[in-house]
């Protein structure tokens, strides 16, 4: 068994690199675009700080529609768009586009929920001290929910590690694709088990790091 694994080790390393590449870009886009989007959703909710019910219904709807798409279908459906953005529809970079598109609304929703957990009374106290909306967002909402935001990042990393395994379908590679190609198609059960163990370890590391960060950031109890 060990021989088999050693033989494909270089390919495992390449696959891990591809997974890492997909995850980093997807997470970065999700956080950079999803955070403002989720914050906007929180702010324009009916009865919130900048209540805009109609706009909320519109954006909320779009977010739901994208989230409803099964990832595999989204991956295929937006091929023309992917080609437009990164110039190709196959390969690791091409998978990043659908991954990011599906991660943005997912993360935005997590952020919205996290912000909803911030005590409204604290926001009101800040308002009574003359804080403007920008100050409320940065100094109250993000500060009070920083542990929740770290938790949201952890959740999204784990679920998109799983999503990224579909990447093989368009030649994206990654560790999940490797497991399917060697373990499943070639009936090399030992390699499949080894790869799955590797993925389990990665998930454990992500989750443990996430939990640790959440605990460090949370001063509520």
């Amino acid at each position: 068994m060990l021989d088999n694994i050693i033989a494909v080790w270089p390919e495992i390393v390449t696959s891990l690199g591809q997974t890492f590449y997909m995850m980093v870009i997807t997470l970065a886009v999700a956080v950079l675009v999803g955070t403002p989007l989720g914050t906007l959703l929180y702010l324009i909710r009916p009865g919130s700080i900048i209540s805009a019910p109609r706009l909320y219904v519109a954006i909320d709807g779009i977010v739901n529609v994208i989230r409803s798409f099964p990832f595999l279908i989204l991956l295929i459906a937006i091929i023309p768009f992917t080609r437009l953005i990164v110039g190709t529809a196959i390969g690791t970079t091409a998978v990043v586009v659908p991954l990011a598109i599906s991660a943005i609304p997912e993360f935005a929703r997590l952020i919205e929920q996290t912000l909803l957990d911030v005590n409204r009374g604290i926001v009101e106290a800040a308002e009574s001290m003359g804080a403007n909306t920008r100050q409320i967002i940065w100094k109250v909402l993000f500060s009070e929910s920083r542990a929740g935001i770290a938790n949201a990042i952890t959740i999204i990393s784990v679920s998109f590690l799983s999503f990224s395994t579909v990447a093989g379908l368009v030649g994206g590679g990654g560790i999940g694709d490797f497991a399917i190609r060697y373990g499943y198609y070639r009936y090399q059960t030992d390699i499949m088990i080894a790869t799955v163990i590797l993925i389990v370890i990665i998930v454990q590391i992500l989750q443990t790091t996430g939990n640790f960060t959440v605990r460090r950031l949370n001063k509520k109890n």
Partner: protein, 257 residues
């Protein structure tokens, strides 16, 4: 110094419109400790929150030091709020900030430079006697300590008015007493005008010099506490001033039988 004229506020609820405050007018003079008392849902908190425009009145005007706050631009209003400190029943401290960072918060909002902030935070913590807790997080504090941090935070920008929304309702009787004594001291020492909303008669009796009794969105009675000969006229005021909740309870039990 504070003059409220014909304030009304209506909320849209699932069961139709709810008029929380119905054409209320109120005058508060400099140096007053003005109580607003009533039962839950009487509209007293809404009235208080209209003074710094956390709630915008549907009609009427709010004059503070001669300026009509309802006519100000958003930016001017935010600036004005710095002179109106506010404290809350549930303290509303930022849980991820230490005590001193909480007190520093309104100063950051106001754009005070760091060195000045540090000095003012130390002063305010000194005033409320919590200098030793400067680096503690709110979760480690008792209710009374949290409220004192709330007061220190409200004092940081040197307001001349302190709005208190049920400041002692979440505290035990002893802590209530010490917070009230403290508010009184602030009033006497710094000349801060205090407006205090409460459902506790003890609060009114202990520190207020004037009181308005609210019921169903109206002020039903105004009483000058210095006038020891007053006789409560409205039913609710009689109830509150008789302080006979116990007796009332027995009567109800008797009636039920």
């Amino acid at each position: 110094m504070i003059s409220l004229k014909n304030l009304s506020k209506t909320y849209a609820t699932k069961d139709g419109e709810l008029q929380a405050v119905k054409s209320v007018s109120l005058e508060v003079a400099k140096g007053d400790i003005y109580g607003i008392i009533g039962f839950s849902g009487a509209g007293k908190s809404t009235l208080l929150r209209m003074i710094n425009l956390l709630e915008r009145p549907d009609t009427g005007s709010v004059h503070v030091d001669g300026v009509d706050l309802t006519s100000l631009s958003k930016k001017e209003l935010l600036k004005r709020r710095l002179s109106l400190g506010m404290i809350f029943q549930h303290f509303n401290l930022l849980s991820n900030r230490t005590v001193s960072q909480n007190v520093s918060f309104p100063l950051e909002i106001a754009g005070v430079p760091k060195a000045k902030r540090k000095k003012r935070v130390a002063e305010c913590l000194e005033i409320v006697g919590l200098s030793d807790k400067a680096n503690a997080y709110p979760v480690k504090l008792s209710g009374g300590q949290k409220q004192r941090v709330g007061i220190a935070r409200a004092l940081a920008t040197q307001p001349n008015v302190l709005l208190c929304d049920e400041p002692t309702s979440a505290l035990d009787p002893q802590t209530t007493e010490s917070i009230l004594a403290f508010l009184k001291e602030l009033n006497e020492k710094f000349g801060i005008t205090i407006i205090i909303v409460t459902h506790e008669m003890e609060v009114i009796k202990t520190i207020c010099n004037k009181v308005s009794v609210m019921e169903n969105g109206h002020i039903v009675e105004r009483i000058n506490m210095r006038d020891s000969t007053f006789v409560p006229q409205s039913k609710i005021a009689q109830f509150l001033f008789r302080n006979e909740i116990e007796f009332q309870g027995k009567e109800e039990i008797a009636n039920a039988r």
